[in-house]
Amino acid sequence: MDIVKVNIKTAGYMANKPIIKNVALNIGYGELIGLIGPNGAGKSTIIKAIMGLLPENDSIVEFGGSYKNYSYIPEQPVLYEGLTLWEHLEFAASVYEIDQLEFLNKTEGLLKLFRLTHVRHNMPTTFSKGMQQKVMLILGFLLSPSLYIIDEPFIGLDPIGIKDFLSLIQQARNQGTGVLMSTHSLDTAEKICTSFVLINDGTILAKGNLQEIREQSQLINGSLFDCFIELLEKTL
């Protein structure tokens, strides 16, 4: 049973100028799909198409099963200049009508995990890029969604932050949450993703688990990085 079935025929920002063509992917419960591709391949555009944020979007996105909602963690932290970190979290909690006690317990844990407790009443716009990224992760994990859509989560995060993030993702997956993660960090993706969708020039270059990707690239013992480069070079 899948959480979401995505079938994008064409999608883009302007009429008759599609950036994405014929992209189909399914995300099942507990699955972690790595969306991999070079700069400008269309990874973020696919994410926007799934969320219905594109002006030109000919696609079908079907959520199924016991799907509740999704949580999107963007590549660039999106923060409010006039609010403290705590106020960001409170706003998110009240919009999603999270019970106050649950909110307090969960937030305290997340702030502690990401070592942001001491700056909870500071304005995150003054934080470093990595700290801002952690704020976005906390906001994402606050919601307990059925699906996480995460765009380049490792940029700016320190190694401990990455470890904590991965452990939270693992916990969520154990509870059945699906994850779609766009990333350039192929080494990490190879270790944690259950399957991959390799994108180039707005279309799917290859998809499947590591073994299937290896077969498609004809590199039987190749790493994800090697397979990716091989597949890319074949298209040039």
């Binding site: 999107y72 923060l79 409010y80 006039g82 609010l83 909690a93 009240s94 919009v95 304005m123 003054t126």
Partner: protein, 408 residues
Amino acid sequence: MTTIRKLFWHRLINGWKYQYSVWKTVFDWIVALYIVIPFSAIFIDAYLGWWRQVPVELNYIPINGFLVIFLVFLWSGTLQVFVEDADQIFLFQRKIWVKGLIKYSLVYYMIKNLLVSLLFSIVWAPFLLLHYNFTTHMFVWLTAIIFLLKASIGILKQLLEFRVQGWKLGLSKTILLFLTGVFLRQIVSLLLNRSILFSLTFFTLITALIWLIYQRMFISETLLEDISMQQASKLKFTNVLLKYAGTYTKKTTTLRTSPWLFQNSNIIFKQRNPENSLVEICIKSTLRHSSNIIFYFQVIGAYVLVLTAYPPVLKWFWWGVSIPFLIAMVKPFWLESLNNPFVSMFPLRPEIKLSAAIRSLFLMALPGEIILALIVLLLTRQWLFALILFPLGFFLSKFVAKKLAMFS
């Protein structure tokens, strides 16, 4: 080859082109034909009329009251140093270039101030010469004082911004504004009384300006602040237009890590729900940007001046007019809050947005309405009138807030 002078001219002309392109978006030929040209003609006609006969209302305004207009003019604007974002990388280690840009910016600032001071004085010349008994000689001296004071205050405000932050800056500026008012009043009084002290004060003012220019030239490590101020100044008008259009514009990030109001993220409304949260973040983010507060109280101050010029009954009428005016004034604060990318990430139902808009507009305009009502009450002493009009004003506020919120 690029020289400092060429770079300065290039940036100055680009700045003018940019401002022209922004103005052009508002003042197309239709606006020019139906608003700008007729209003200019009306103003010129009124101005020529003032030279024949000054308005009788001036009899109610003493010279010290009239000087408030001059004080507002003196306080407006500051030195703009023509630096850009990329200068952090390319010019940071080229101190001579940065100093050169500051020097040229100062020269431009002086010339611009001289011209606007001349224009400003010419506009008010009929009142000064025909009503307030200034001789031509005195008028010329007053123009010189206005120029010197405006130039000095512009630089002094900037030096304060480099050295003081947060509430201390607000307090320092308020004290400076008060002292400027007192100084202006005293120097005009000395001028009108033909006191020998006037010449002495005048030359002290020239010395002070020279000292301030020297200080501004040689103050070190201000490139980042200069860039931030230049960006804010360049985008000032654009931001106002975008705010009214409901488009979010990114604010300059302050160096302050914790806010000066609601420091511990204290809540305004005890009950947590999406509507209360929306109202709360709108109020908090508006209050936490000092430029919003300054703008709010500047408008209130200007409105108080308008109120003083009318007879008692009309004062109440103008107070009533202030209600939709103030609500319209705070609406961009609400739109800015609603259109913030962070808020846009969350799914909010239209009816929640609408009820939050009504409450936000009502609550943000309320302090201004109360201040104006108290001032009218103090000026008119019509207590009975107030008893009837205050509740009416309250309901009118609610009604106008609802109507204006619907156009969000």
